[in-house]
């Protein structure tokens, strides 16, 4: 009966909220309970159970956040509030226009087509390693489907945390090289 672990997930989210910023043991207990309840869901109903449990957990957390928003105090007067906290906000570089444009084009080229190709090659190598000399079959094909976007997203994230285009070349090269090794030994 999945109702029991689902109920536990609600309790878990409530515990996480109750302990947040106050009692860490409570918060950690909530996380542990949530993980345990999801495992229970998995044992009862497999992937479907995990999906339902995770959806409920996210929905419960979002409901709490909306409640926090609804009960948030009105803003203080500007004199009392002082300057707004310096929120971390995104900025882009302020280089000369032509240099910035060239840099951005390079970043786009490296994170989109180059990384796409590296991820595609890596996924293709995984497919080859899984199937060996046998004909195409479901597991290796589905793995390729899943690995490609995962690796590409990982590459894009990795590249965008680099200092500049020069450093962004390494991640796709490394992934492509690993792909080549997998291909050779497949």
């Amino acid at each position: 009966m999945i109702a029991a672990p689902l109920l536990l997930i609600l309790v878990a989210v409530a515990l996480v909220r109750a302990g947040w910023g106050r009692d860490r043991r409570l918060s950690h207990g909530g996380w542990a309970l949530g993980v345990g309840a999801l495992i229970w869901c998995a044992l009862l109903d497999g992937a479907w159970g995990v999906a339902v449990g995770a959806t409920l957990g996210v929905a419960a957390a979002m409901a709490i956040v909306l409640f926090v928003a609804a009960t948030a105090p009105a803003r203080r007067s500007p004199q009392r509030a002082g300057a707004p906290r310096s929120d971390r906000m995104a900025t882009l570089s302020t280089r000369p226009a032509d240099l910035a444009l060239g840099r951005r084009l390079a970043v786009f080229a490296l994170t989109v087509p180059v990384s796409f190709l590296a991820a595609q090659w890596f996924a293709f190598a995984c497919n080859a390693a899984m199937k060996g000399d046998a004909p195409l079959e479901a597991n290796s094909v589905a793995t390729m489907f899943m690995v490609q976007p995962l690796v590409w997203a990982g590459l894009m994230t990795w590249q965008l945390c680099q200092r500049g285009p020069a450093e962004m070349i390494r991640p796709p090269l490394l992934v492509a090289a690993i792909g080549a090794l997998i291909w050779i030994f497949a």
């Binding site: 910023g21 409920l56 609804a70 995104a90 595609q120 293709f124 195409l136 094909v141 589905a142 894009m156």
Partner: protein
């Protein structure tokens, strides 16, 4: 370099990358998020678009069989179809539909034609989400790539905010607008992260699978894509064009009901109907499984041939068949669908506030952002507004109105107008117009069609409530979209 310095620079770099992706892909991601939120209840929209069609809760095997000659008679002057699909009625859309390569027809519980399926607005919304109305393969690849970009946005967003989990329950909704906007962006972002990552990666999987199929086809099957797909979704038998009587789909349906009583048929597919090579597939949902269905195959006489194995075959088959329901939220009824809608709205807010925060930052630096802010307000509020206007066009002119051209034309004109006359496209004005348009649209629909089925009334009530929330007459808001003025800030 100290650890702190290194961490700080990583945070800054991640933030810069986060901004770069958001600016390049933000508008399209927002469009996909808005339409994706609507697509969760696609069948309910279809019913809402054509509320005056006769409905039936079920379709017997005999009625399904009887519907075929009726549809064929309706299409006597058209090219004989090579595929025939019968969509079984369900609670969300209690109407059987027979689709051919030519058209689609609603049928009643006896298999008689009940009307033409003409839900062009619903189809447009779906096409905007699936492929941005571009040619299917290229459009789906682009949407898949945007899914990858969104996944990278999510991860760089977490990396860029080291305190994002520490502040996870801090939401100063009534604070200074920029602070409130930042809190909405970060809090909704962190708590919907599991959902958003799952949805974006399953979407990327669906869209980018075309590139993998193409690669495998070029490498192993001489460029033919069907054999690659067949490894997961099953193969079709050899085509034999010699004429034959219509396939016995009633027997196939009865066999599924007898042999697999827990399975719930959703589609009956007849390949190459009325040929010797015809065969029937019954796609049936399995309760408490994420797969979109198991595929049971039959020959023309209705004899059982076997199943593909999506429900209990190779893990790859089960996983691939599970991505669709997981992505669209169609696996546990209305409660999960409502949760997906809420998460989808959250993603819209996250996307909208992200660019707005960037615009605000530029304004604080002294840049004139009036035109960009107006264009962004047109994007955020204008996309749903244009969807409302195109729905009105479809109701006024019928299902054959050029809704896709109207959508892009109106959106393009709106963006140009926003850039030309930014004062007219303030955040407040745009949201007011959208709210009023939604309320007026729902009221008109209720009056025009006289209410209709409870499901249709519920949709209109939902539109009314959403319109009222968006309009929010008399209430001060933090402003989800563009800053209120385009003037540079002096602070």
């Amino acid at each position: 370099m100290t650890t702190a310095t290194r961490d700080k620079s990583l945070v800054q770099r991640a933030l810069s990358g986060h901004a770069a992706i958001g600016l390049i892909a933000g508008a399209l991601i927002y469009l996909i998020a808005v339409t994706g939120t609507l697509v969760v209840v696609l069948e309910q929209w279809q019913r809402w678009e054509q509320p005056d069609i006769a409905e039936s809760a079920g379709l017997t095997p005999q009625a399904a069989q009887a519907s075929i000659p009726n549809v064929r008679a309706q299409e006597a002057d058209m090219t004989p179809t090579a595929h025939l699909y019968i969509r079984m009625p369900n609670a969300a859309l209690p109407r059987p539909v027979v689709t051919t390569d030519n058209k689609a027809w609603y049928i009643d519980g006896e298999g008689r034609i009940a009307g033409r399926e003409g839900h062009s607005w619903t189809e447009m919304v779906a096409a905007l989400h699936y492929n941005l109305t571009l040619p299917v393969i290229w459009g789906m690849i682009l949407v898949g790539a945007l899914g990858v970009a969104l996944a990278a946005l999510l991860v760089t967003g977490v990396v860029a905010h080291p305190k994002i989990f520490k502040d996870a329950f801090r939401l100063r909704a009534r604070a200074e607008p920029q602070l409130a906007r930042t809190d909405w962006h970060n809090r909704l972002g962190v708590w919907t992260l599991p959902f958003t990552l799952m949805v974006t990666l399953t979407g990327a999987f669906i869209g980018l699978s075309y590139t993998s199929v193409g690669t495998l086809a070029q490498s192993y099957t001489g460029g033919a894509m069907d054999p690659v797909y067949a490894t997961i979704f099953g193969a079709e038998p050899e085509h034999d064009p010699a004429p034959a009587p219509m396939a016995n789909i009633a027997r196939a349906m009865e066999t599924v009901a007898a042999r697999f009583p827990d399975a719930e048929p959703t589609y009956i597919v007849v390949h190459d109907p009325m040929t010797q090579g015809q065969f029937v597939q019954v796609i049936a949902e399995h309760p408490r499984q994420l797969i979109y269905g198991e595929v049971y195959s039959f020959d023309g006489a209705g004899s059982y041939l076997g199943k593909v194995g999506l429900s209990d075959g190779a893990l790859g088959r089960q996983a691939a068949a599970s991505t669709y329901n997981l992505h669209f939220g169609n696996y546990a009824g209305l409660p999960v669908q409502l949760a997906y809608i809420a998460f989808g709205i959250a993603l819209c807010v996250i996307t909208a506030t992200g660019t707005t925060m960037w615009l605000r930052k530029r304004r604080r630096k002294g840049h004139d952002i009036a035109r960009m802010a107006a264009a962004w307000a047109m994007t955020v509020w204008g996309i749903p507004l244009v969807l409302v206007l195109v729905a009105a066009l479809r109701f006024a002119g019928g299902p054959d109105m050029p809704v896709v051209a109207a959508f892009w034309g109106l959106l393009g004109a709106g963006l140009i107008a926003a850039a030309a006359w930014p004062a007219l496209f303030s955040d407040a004005a745009m949201r007011r117009v959208l709210g009023i348009a939604m309320i007026a649209g729902a009221l008109l629909h209720l009056v025009w069609f006289g209410g209709g089925a409870p499901g249709v009334v519920a949709m209109n009530l939902a539109i009314l409530a959403t319109g009222a929330v968006i309009w929010r007459p008399g209430l001060r808001t933090a402003g989800v979209a563009a800053p209120r003025t385009g003037r540079p800030e002096t602070a």
